[in-house]
Structures are given as C-alpha cells and as structure tokens.
Subunit: 239 residues, 2 copies
C-alpha cells in the first residue's frame, strides 16, 4: 500500500472521486498532476478567486461547498451556482483566457486542489480524454444553470425554495431516529436568498408559510420534511 493511501494527496482524492473530471488520470499524467497540484484548506467566507481577477489555477473541490457569486454594477449580487465535492471550478477562465466572471466563495469548510495553468494546459493538450471530460463538465454545468434559469423565469419563490431544499437534501439529508427526513442547512438565510434572487426577509416569511402549510418544520438550520412526496409534488421532478 503506497503512502498515498495512508495520507491522501490530491491525486487520490481528486482523481479518485467518482464524479471528478480527473478520475481517469493515469501514468505520466497523474504524476504531472500530483507534482503540480497544491492542496488548500478554506474556511467559510474565504474567497478562492474574485470576479474580475485573472486565472490563477483550476480548482478541484475535494470536499466542502463552494458558491459562485456574481455582483453587478450597482452592487446587487446573486449566487449563481453551488459546487460540491468532485466538481472543477474556474475552467472557463482557463480555456478562454478571460478574467473570472464570478467570485468563488467558500460556504462550508472545504478542501480544494489547485492545478496551476501550465500543468492544466499540458494535461489538456496531451490527453484528449481530459478535454472530453471537461466538455462533459461544461455540458453538465450548462444543463444545470439552464434548468435554474428556466425555474427563475417561470416559477414563484415557493417551489424554487423547496427545490433548493431538495437539492441539499439529496446531497446531505438523512433520517433521524424517528425516520424523519432531515436536513442540516449548510448556508444561512442571506445566502439562501442570494441563491433565489430574494431577500432574507422573504425567505424567513416563506419558511414560516411552508411550516403553516405543514410541508416542513424548521428550527434554525435544521429542516425536517413532513412529507417528501408532498414537496416533490410542489416542484415536479428535481432533475
């Protein structure tokens, strides 16, 4: 058993993650990846890169939760996307050479593997499998954001809030001792609001309403679903 297994580096974490773009690195490519990578630990509130800043490195999320935030000219800001373990962030700036369009902000304690440009470029140029993976990643991201956009155009806040709750539930929900479906929300109300283009006040009231309607019970960050089926009925298929 190599030391990689005893003390995991980026290679084993990033490239072994079943959803990662880097899952099928082998041989020289894997060695290059490992040599060039740095692994960093981030805390909530940290920023991995800023909107408007030049590309610094490809960020592969090993664990945690990252939000991509966009701020407009008058200071309004929105969380456009959430990125989980296994996802690669910042590839757009790598590929088109432009500055980052979003700020990548850390929402929960996260471990991230950073691959600087030279290595990323070499890997991409040398291995067509990797650029294919990146293309898949692009397609996945586009589908996700298109779906979110469509929801924002056609639906009210209530089903949209329920939708993000369900997304979180899928990723980190669990059953408590009474077999209730429970979710420990990883983000605060403000960020929930930024995710939906709403205000924290509205989120607060909306949650109250969901409780009155008997869909969920919420205490601070803990969300207990009274009936997952009822929730799904409100929002249609989650994906």
């Amino acid at each position: 058993m190599s030391s990689d297994f005893l003390e995991p580096h980026c290679c084993s974490e990033c490239s072994h993650h079943c959803r990662s773009e880097w899952r099928d690195l082998t041989g020289d490519d894997l060695a290059l990846f490992n040599k060039a990578k740095t692994v960093r630990r981030f805390e909530p509130g940290d920023v991995m890169f800023h909107q408007g800043s030049p590309f610094q490195g490809l960020h592969c999320i090993q664990s945690g939760l990252i939000g991509l935030r966009r701020v407009d000219e008058d200071g309004n800001s929105a969380l456009l996307r959430l990125c989980n373990a296994g996802e690669t962030v910042g590839y757009r700036a790598l590929l088109n050479g432009d500055d980052h369009l979003n700020t990548a902000e850390v929402l929960v304690p996260s471990t991230v593997c950073i691959l600087p440009r030279p290595a990323a470029t070499r890997l991409l140029a040398g291995n067509s499998k990797i650029s294919r993976r990146l293309l898949e990643c692009c397609i996945r991201d586009i589908s996700r954001i298109e779906a979110d956009y469509a929801r924002s155009l056609t639906k009210k806040m209530k089903p949209r809030l329920l939708h993000v709750l369900m997304i979180f539930y899928e990723q980190m929900g669990y059953r408590d001792q009474f077999d209730n479906s429970v979710l420990e929300l990883p983000i605060q109300r403000q960020q929930l609001a930024d995710l939906l283009g709403a205000t924290p006040e509205s989120i607060s009231r909306l949650i109250k309403r969901l409780e009155r309607e008997g869909l969920v019970r919420v205490q601070d960050r803990r969300v207990t679903f009274c009936s997952i089926d009822d929730v799904v009925a409100e929002i249609g298929p989650v994906h």
Copy 2:
C-alpha cells in the same frame, strides 16, 4: 470559381461563417461534412426539434433566428436563449446522448444545415480542433446564460427589456435617414415576454413607460432609440 460560390452549400455557408464552430474544416473533414449535411429552410413557428425528443442531428444556423424554449410540468414556458447565424444548436443531446431539454423554435425565416449523428461523431473523434471549437462554443453559451440568469435574479424588468433591445440592436439595428438608431424587432410581444419571464401585458405597459421616459419610441415592431447612451446607462455594459 466553383459552383459552391454560385450556389452555396452548407460547407461554404456554415464553415465560412466567421463565428461558426465549423469555420476551420478542411480537406477530408470538409468533404465528409458536405456529403453528410442537409440544408433546410424553416419558417417562423416551425420547430427544429422538440423538448424530450432524441437527437436527430446537429443544427448549424446559416441565417435566421432560433429560440430555445423550455416548458415545465404546468405548462409555463420560457425562451431561454436566442441563437443567431453561425451558432450550432443541439450539441448537448449529441454529446451526452440524452433527449433534448429544450424545443428549438424558429423565430424568423431561417436556413439551417443539419449534420446527422454519424458524421458529427466521426468529425469529433477525428479532429481535435473541432472538439476544441465545440468546447469554446459551450463556454460561450454558458457565459451568456449565466449572465442572463444573473440579470434575472438581480434586475427589474425595465433594464432587462432594454438589454434585449440592445442585443437585438447590436445584431440588426441600423441608422435611418435622420441618423436615428432604429431596430426592427424580429419577434412579437409574446416572445419578448417569454424571453423575460413576463406577460405580454407587462411588456406592453413597460414599453409605454419607456416611451414616456423618452428612452425609445416604438411603433409596432419598429423601435427608435432616442439616446443609446441613456439606454446603456440604464443597463450597464451590454456584455
């Protein structure tokens, strides 16, 4: 001068279009492209492919305007994106093998070049330049939709409507005999509304308001901008 120039086929149209993904096809690849392609003419209201239908072919828009529409479970629909000459549509279904997520509806008379799956796959597998182009195309689409999504989350209808007017103006606007900036809107109010997640009534009233505020003058489909600068000031940088 070859007959291609006298009676343009897809090759010369699609692949010569400066923004097309296919601009640098040469030799055998170009021959394959030409052999496999079919060119079709569509009229407004026609549908190139339906949401939920399987991939039939890659659609390269030679001329015209295509809208990608998404309809949800309760029948609400939105126009997620507009695609102009030079753009390739439907690549997602090609690459991931899933059904189309959107309906591609024709908004103005359009000429489209259709490349069936086998040829598309062969071209993609054999020519890394092409998959790189497709990746760029993906990146462009993702940037666009992200920007639209951000606007929908943070801005009111007024700047968003002005934004789509400016987008149209950039593409097809002109100066009239008095040097006014004029735009002949290619779509009707309903579609404008679907593009913004609004109702036709709201669009109608909003336009009235823009006229009252002296930003534009509108008669049927003709939009005359009183001051492009004022409009730009309202919406910030267009791109």
